[in-house]
């Protein structure tokens, strides 16, 4: 991303708002933006989802390819997650090889999905040692107004739960839904004006400090964490956002279920 030139004035404005416990768009500290989830919207993908969180808009698409299992894991298929933020998504996203920001974004979302074990790679095996499915999950941002992490993670799990394995096209049986055994949900918190807020907007990201990404599964098991950007936080601060993440992840899980069915 190009270096944004305004953050100093923005920072002091955000600090002032924080002292009155206010946010730049009027939200409460733990309040997310309006979130809309649509699925099955990409005709060429086997699974797809679109997430709109305020002015942040992302797509997720799931494609399948046949692969030969690795010789040391003959009973397993593969899961590949690729996140791209192309320059379409905002003034500061530039063309060229992936930036460190973009790599971190992709890897953190990938770990949230992967480490939850929601896709059992053994279930992707067709003929041991010979043929297996590789699931490719592509995340694609159209409009970045902050918190691409949560938008990507939400679109990712919804697209997976909505994906049909194209057995017929590849002549290996009948089409069926991809098995997704659990539902990891990511909640991200950004330190803005000396305290963490949920679902930071782009302005809050630009004028804020560190961010913390928490991926929770069933029974509030932790599957993935990441602290990003320069900044220091205390154990107490962490305990507070972890508690909030437990509540928020429950609500988002309900949203996914209401859209794709349980």
């Amino acid at each position: 991303m190009a270096i944004p030139l305004v953050p100093k004035i923005l920072r002091s404005h955000l600090l002032e708002l924080a002292s009155k416990d206010e946010r730049i768009d009027g939200r409460g500290r733990w309040e997310g933006r309006q979130t809309k989830l649509e699925v099955d919207i990409l005709p060429r993908a086997e699974g797809s989802a679109k997430v709109t969180m305020g002015d942040t808009i992302v797509y997720a698409g799931v494609k399948f390819q046949l692969m030969t299992p690795y010789s040391d894991r003959p009973n397993e298929g593969g899961l590949m997650c690729s996140a791209e933020v192309r320059p379409v998504a905002g003034r500061n996203w530039e063309p060229g090889p992936p930036s460190a920001e973009s790599i971190e974004l992709g890897r953190v979302v990938d770990r949230g999905i992967r480490e939850s074990g929601c896709i059992d790679v053994k279930s992707l095996c067709i003929i041991p040692g010979e043929k297996a499915w590789q699931v490719i999950l592509d995340l694609f941002a159209i409009s970045d107004d902050g918190n691409l992490f949560d938008a990507f993670a939400l679109a990712a799990i919804a697209a997976l739960k909505n994906a049909k394995v194209p057995c017929e096209r590849f002549e290996v049986g009948q089409d069926h839904l991809l098995e997704v055994s659990s539902m990891p949900i990511m909640c991200s918190y950004h330190k803005v004006g000396n305290r963490f807020v949920y679902d930071a907007s782009k302005k809050e990201e630009l004028g804020g400090d560190e961010r913390i990404h928490i991926t929770l599964g069933e029974a509030n098991h932790v599957h993935s964490l990441q602290k990003g950007l320069k900044g220091i936080f205390s154990a107490d601060e962490f305990v507070e956002i972890m508690e909030k993440a437990k509540d928020t992840s429950k609500e988002l899980r309900k949203l996914v279920n209401s859209v794709v069915g349980e």
Binding site: A2, L42, P43, R44, A45, S48, D55, I57, Y59, G61, V62, K63, Q65, S82, E84, R86, P87, V88, A89, G90, R91, P95, I136, D138, F140, I142, S143, D144, D145, K202
Partner: protein
């Protein structure tokens, strides 16, 4: 161009497999303002094609060495999303995308009043979310709308349509199946106010007479598509 086998793409009544006549264009929808963080944007669906264009700028051109003293630089990127086709497209460098980006930029630079913004840059980002056939035409046309949505002054809009040939018959606006088995493809970018051309490519095989027919189909279709563009810009904003 494929030209494989003996598949019959046009029936005895001159109708195509999707029921269109030789000169019919696929259904089109246009919506502006779909990328809220952009200065202008447009989503255009055209048959099963689904293309999103965002425009950023005019803004300072950096690094300085790319600046032009007398006009704005027009930076156009055409890209297909990995999930936009039946076989996934690997992200990254791609000669086809580079060429389409260049000819699209050349076409748009012919109508955008770049001289009004010296030393600045205008970015046009064309993303194909779902591809059928004719994505370069959809991208160029949608880019015109997005530039208008961003308030960038132009001498005219560019409307792009491709006619082609199947079973030795010239038809307008090939769909996917027709494109797979087609024998020629003639994409053009037309200025609706003057009928002049800013974009032209062609490959395959067309006799001089077939070529003239395809050309005429394109110019006529462009006038129709232009009406839909004007309507969308009048309505403004996202639905």
């Amino acid at each position: 161009m494929g030209g494989y086998g003996d598949i019959k793409m046009i029936d005895e009544n001159g109708l195509r497999m999707d029921g269109r006549s030789a000169t019919d264009v696929r259904p089109i929808t246009i919506e502006t303002g779909v990328v809220p963080v952009a200065d202008g944007s447009c989503r255009m669906t055209w048959g099963t094609n689904d293309v999103i264009v965002a425009v950023y700028g005019p803004m300072e051109a950096h690094p300085r060495k790319i600046q032009r003293q007398d006009r704005a630089v027009l930076d156009v990127r055409y890209n297909m999303a990995p999930f936009s086709t039946t076989d996934r497209i690997r992200p990254g460098f791609n000669r086809r995308s580079r060429e389409i980006s260049k000819v699209t930029a050349d076409a748009l630079a012919s109508v955008v009043l770049l001289e009004m913004y010296p030393r600045s840059k205008i970015r046009v980002e064309i993303e194909v979310i779902c591809a059928e056939a004719g994505t370069r035409c959809v991208g160029l046309t949608a880019a015109s709308v997005a530039l208008a949505d961003a308030g960038i002054p132009m001498t005219d809009m560019v409307v792009s349509v491709a006619s082609g040939k199947i079973n030795d018959v010239v038809v307008c606006d090939l769909n996917k199946e027709e494109d797979n088995y087609g024998e020629a493809d003639l994409p053009m970018g037309v200025l609706p106010n003057t009928g002049e051309i800013v974009f032209l490519q062609m490959d395959g095989d067309l006799s001089p007479e077939q070529f003239q027919t395809a050309w005429d189909y394109n110019v006529n279709a462009a006038m129709e598509v232009h009406k839909i563009m004007i309507e969308a810009l009048k309505n403004g904003g996202a639905k």
